[in-house]
């Protein structure tokens, strides 16, 4: 047993943990980060980045396959394409290695000690790590819990063999002939769309009445339309009941569905990693199944901080990163607290969805002045040249003052709007601020300006 001590101990090197550790290191605090796998967490290793790589590959393949049908409006013809998915996965793994290696380098540069191993919390100031060399005990002044989350298992569909979590679905070596997806949230839809474009027959089973149930139907409608066009079958109000002999059973109001599926991807949500590493034994105040924190990311125990997915929804890398910076600043004695107006959320479905700030219903529930201005992509020149005119931009605002309360968009490529939308929210922009900002022509972004103009009843191109 080796004994180590440090000022700041970060548990988990996902986006929240590694950002926190880098910031703490930069602040001159003696910092140790403990991670059982490669740095980067779910996001870099088995989440955001691998799925975006797969989605890109699928889009490329699909574009060629479309041309091969001879129906290309662009006049492109080609022979039917093939894909070697194992090679695709090799390319994806290369990107992951490059990024996780980069994180390792950043931690070193910030003077952070990295310890690889399975950690167990003994008390608020001490953890035990089982490393390759044996047990070591680390004592610290401040502990940051950033242990993240894992996919939730459905009891009737235990992970293993042909039942996959997102992790396995992002490492398949062959495109399955048939793929059933249990859970129509953004993870299931992103991966499902990718496999549909790669040639799999995809069926989605969603228990609620709508895909992407946390957003309004207006936002998910263009996605649903595209899924149908891609030949994806969507069953709503359907409960997966079991999987035997290549058939997924699902209960619906009109009886049991039998869905042929070589593989079943279960994406019904994620749960925080709390029990596994002894966090539960600390007796921290909880909020539901998550660790309760205040605006400084402090838990109910002095010197113990929590960031990222263990602190609740939305479980997004950039939220964890922002919390990581706050926790490190608070530990370093700086005046920091959570004061963000918005956490942007992006679904890399087809078309993509960006959600920042309040949705129309959320705004109307608390603000009688809330109004909505919308502008469709079909009136945008750039969208036409990209052959993708489905979707729209929507600005939720306060009628009298023009204050922007939320911005959402659906459309191919609109994920890159996330920055402008979030900036508008954080700067407390009004419709006039956006409308009076020149948005370059010809870009998809002009739709944002047009939506703002529409909100001011000054629409130009509508």
């Amino acid at each position: 047993m080796t004994d180590l001590s440090c000022k700041v101990l970060v548990l988990g090197a996902g986006p929240g943990g590694y950002v926190c550790a880098i910031r703490a290191g930069q602040a001159g605090l003696d910092t140790i980060i403990v991670e059982k796998a490669a740095p980067g967490g779910t996001c870099l290793n088995v989440g955001c980045i691998p799925s975006k790589a797969l989605i890109h590959a699928a889009e490329q393949f699909h574009a060629v396959a479309e041309a091969a049908t001879g129906n290309s409006a662009l006049g492109i013809t080609t022979a039917s394409p093939k894909i070697d998915l194992s090679k695709t996965m090799g390319w994806k793994d290369g990107i992951v290695r490059q990024l996780t290696g980069g994180v390792g380098g950043l931690l070193r540069k910030a003077g952070v000690r990295k310890i690889e191993g399975e950690a167990r919390i003994l008390d608020g100031k001490t953890i035990e790590v089982r490393t390759a060399e044996g047990l070591s005990r680390i004592s610290c002044e401040s502990l940051v819990i950033a242990t993240g989350s894992v996919p939730i298992e459905v009891p009737s569909l235990p992970f293993g063999s042909n039942i996959l979590s997102s992790t396995e679905a992002l490492s398949l070596q062959q495109v399955p002939e048939t793929l059933a997806i249990v859970g129509g949230g953004y993870i299931g839809l992103e991966i499902g769309t990718a496999y549909a474009k790669l040639g799999a027959k995809v069926t989605i089973v969603e228990a609620k009445a709508q895909i992407l149930p946390q957003y309004d139907a207006e936002l998910s409608k263009p996605v649903l339309a595209r899924l149908k066009a891609l030949g994806v079958e969507v069953h709503l109000n359907a409960q997966a009941a079991g999987y035997e002999n290549g058939v997924l059973r699902a209960k619906t109001a009109v009886g049991e569905l039998k869905i042929a599926a070589r593989k079943v991807l279960v994406t019904v949500g994620r749960r925080p990693v709390i029990a596994e590493c002894g966090v539960a034994d600390l007796g921290l105040d909880m909020q539901g199944r998550y660790i309760k924190i205040n605006g400084k990311c402090q838990t109910s125990m002095r010197g113990v901080y929590a960031i990222g997915d263990v602190t609740g929804e939305p479980m997004l890398a950039h939220r964890a990163m922002a919390q990581g910076e706050i926790a490190a600043a608070v530990i370093a004695g700086e005046a920091a607290n959570w004061d963000k107006r918005a956490i942007p959320a992006v679904c890399f479905t087809d078309p993509e969805i960006v959600v920042v700030g309040q949705l129309p219903e959320e705004a109307r529930a608390v603000n009688a002045e809330a109004a909505v201005a919308t502008y469709p992509l079909r009136a945008n020149g750039r969208a036409m040249t990209l052959e993708r005119t489905d979707g729209f931009v929507r600005i939720v605002h306060e009628k009298a003052s023009g204050l922007v309360l939320g911005i959402q968009a659906v459309g191919a490529g609109v994920s890159e709007f996330a920055g402008e939308f979030a900036l508008a929210l954080e700067m407390c922009a009004t419709l006039t601020d956006i409308a009076a900002t020149i948005h370059a022509h010809p870009t998809l972004g002009e739709t944002v300006q047009e939506a703002a103009l529409a909100g001011l009843s000054k629409a130009l191109h509508a």
Binding site: A332, G333, E334, A335, A336, N337, D339, R341, E398, S401, G402, L403, E426, M427, C428, T430, T432, D433
Partner: protein
């Protein structure tokens, strides 16, 4: 002839109404273009309104104290022009003429002032933004505090609660200018604790500290102190001290303190009133024929005053020995009760830390205390040249209820004489 209406102009971003504070014309008055006609006050500033036309005032829309909406009719003027009725919101920047020279009372327009482009509107007085304790809160309860991340960071750094700050920007957004205003009014940004959140340690006042606190406040509250500071040339007595130390053999080493104690004993002959204990409850002063000198002594627990008893019976060496013995007893906590009471006068000396003057607090129930300040070599004028002399100040406080200024001055002068001519200390009458 035409009738022109001057409306209350937009006097600032976000301002929807203004209170009329002054009307400078009355119906029938002839006004010329650019003449001041009224002043209005918004929640930000007082703004002077000037006339856009020359002509005769025929109607006034407001009275002093009335609140008018921006754009409402303020004054109608009948002018000489042939055109029909015309209405303008006072002057617009495009038709504005250069304003007549500002009167000295007019404050310069600030950079952040939204009225800058319009010469017809003069900010004559800027009221501080309400920060705290305003009658009306900066925004409706539950309403979001709007500020950009940079403004939020700046406020955080300065420890400002943005919920208490009025936002002048669109939709009530708090701008950098609002913070500038706040800092300007506050004088400066509040410094931040660099070592993190402020921590406060609470220490209970007990034991000796509580005793000191009680006695000090009692002495300071009841005794009207008079303090006299005098300069003393101690070159001679220092030279004597050095010689005595050279020849002391196994006697204790002399500091200046036993010599001052010896001088004090000698001073009693001519100034007996200074050596006393005043029982103010009984309204009696007790004069002893003995001299018991309290020696203010620093210990780890705090200030203690051990007493050299019957100092009149002791030689300088014996005084030195006794002072050393008592201060050690105090520091070790072994001083006896009788060694800590009964003094008729006290000496307080901080040695090299003694500064140039102090205002000692009397050790009640005594009526005087002698403070000894730092010794230093200073140039002294001897009538023909500056010569280096070792100088030391004494700062003595007296209970003005018992000791008059005259007596205090005589005592201080006597001490000066004795210390400057040390032979006098040892002269017997």
């Amino acid at each position: 002839m035409g009738i022109k209406t001057i409306r209350l102009p937009d006097v600032g971003e976000g301002v929807t109404e203004a209170e009329v504070t002054e009307i400078l014309v009355k119906p029938g008055d002839l006004v010329r273009e650019d003449d001041p006609i009224a002043a209005v006050m918004t929640d930000k500033a007082t703004v002077e309104i000037t006339s856009a036309y020359s002509g005769k005032v025929i109607w006034i829309g407001g009275e002093v104290g009335k609140t008018l909406a921006i754009g409402s009719d303020l004054i109608r003027i009948e002018d000489e022009s042939a055109g029909g009725d015309d209405t303008v919101p006072s002057l617009t920047p495009a038709e504005a003429q250069p304003a007549p020279a500002s009167t000295p009372s007019m404050a310069a327009q600030t950079e952040s002032c939204p009225l800058k482009a319009s010469p017809s509107l003069k900010v004559v007085e800027t009221r501080p933004n309400a920060i705290t304790a305003t009658a009306t809160p900066p925004r409706a309860e539950g309403a979001a505090v709007l500020a950009s991340p940079a403004v939020r960071a700046r406020a955080k750094e300065a420890g400002i609660d943005l919920r208490q700050v009025v936002g002048s920007g669109p939709a009530g957004r708090i701008t950098h200018a609002d913070l500038d205003h706040l800092f300007h009014n506050a004088g400066q940004a509040l410094p931040r604790n660099p070592s993190g959140p402020e921590t406060v340690e609470t220490v209970k006042v007990v034991g000796l500290r509580r005793m000191i606190a009680k006695r000090m406040s009692e002495a300071n509250a009841t005794i009207p102190h008079i303090t006299v500071v005098e300069e003393v040339d101690v070159t001679e007595i220092e030279a004597l001290r050095v010689k005595l130390n050279e020849a002391r053999g196994d006697k204790p080493k002399l500091t200046i303190l036993p010599l001052i104690a010896a001088a004090l004993v000698k001073a009693k002959e001519s100034c007996p009133k200074i050596f006393a204990r005043y029982d103010d409850d009984a309204e009696e002063v007790h004069y002893s024929n003995a001299v018991h000198i309290g020696i203010a002594t620093m210990t780890e627990a705090g200030l203690m005053v051990p007493v050299v008893r019957n100092a009149q019976a002791l030689s300088p060496y014996q005084l030195a020995g006794e002072i050393t013995r008592l201060s050690e007893a105090c520091r070790e906590g072994k001083a006896k009760r009788e060694e800590l009471s009964g003094s008729t006068i006290t000496i307080t000396s901080l040695g090299p830390l003694g500064a140039i003057a102090t205002t000692p607090i009397i050790n009640k129930p005594e009526v005087a205390i002698l403070g000894v300040n730092r010794m230093a070599v200073r140039p002294s004028w001897n009538g023909s040249a500056f010569v280096p002399r070792t100088m030391m100040n004494i700062s003595a406080s007296f209970d003005h209820r018992i000791i008059d200024g005259w007596d205090a001055a005589v005592f201080v002068q006597r001490m000066k004489t004795l210390l400057e001519t040390p032979a006098l200390i040892f002269m017997k009458d």
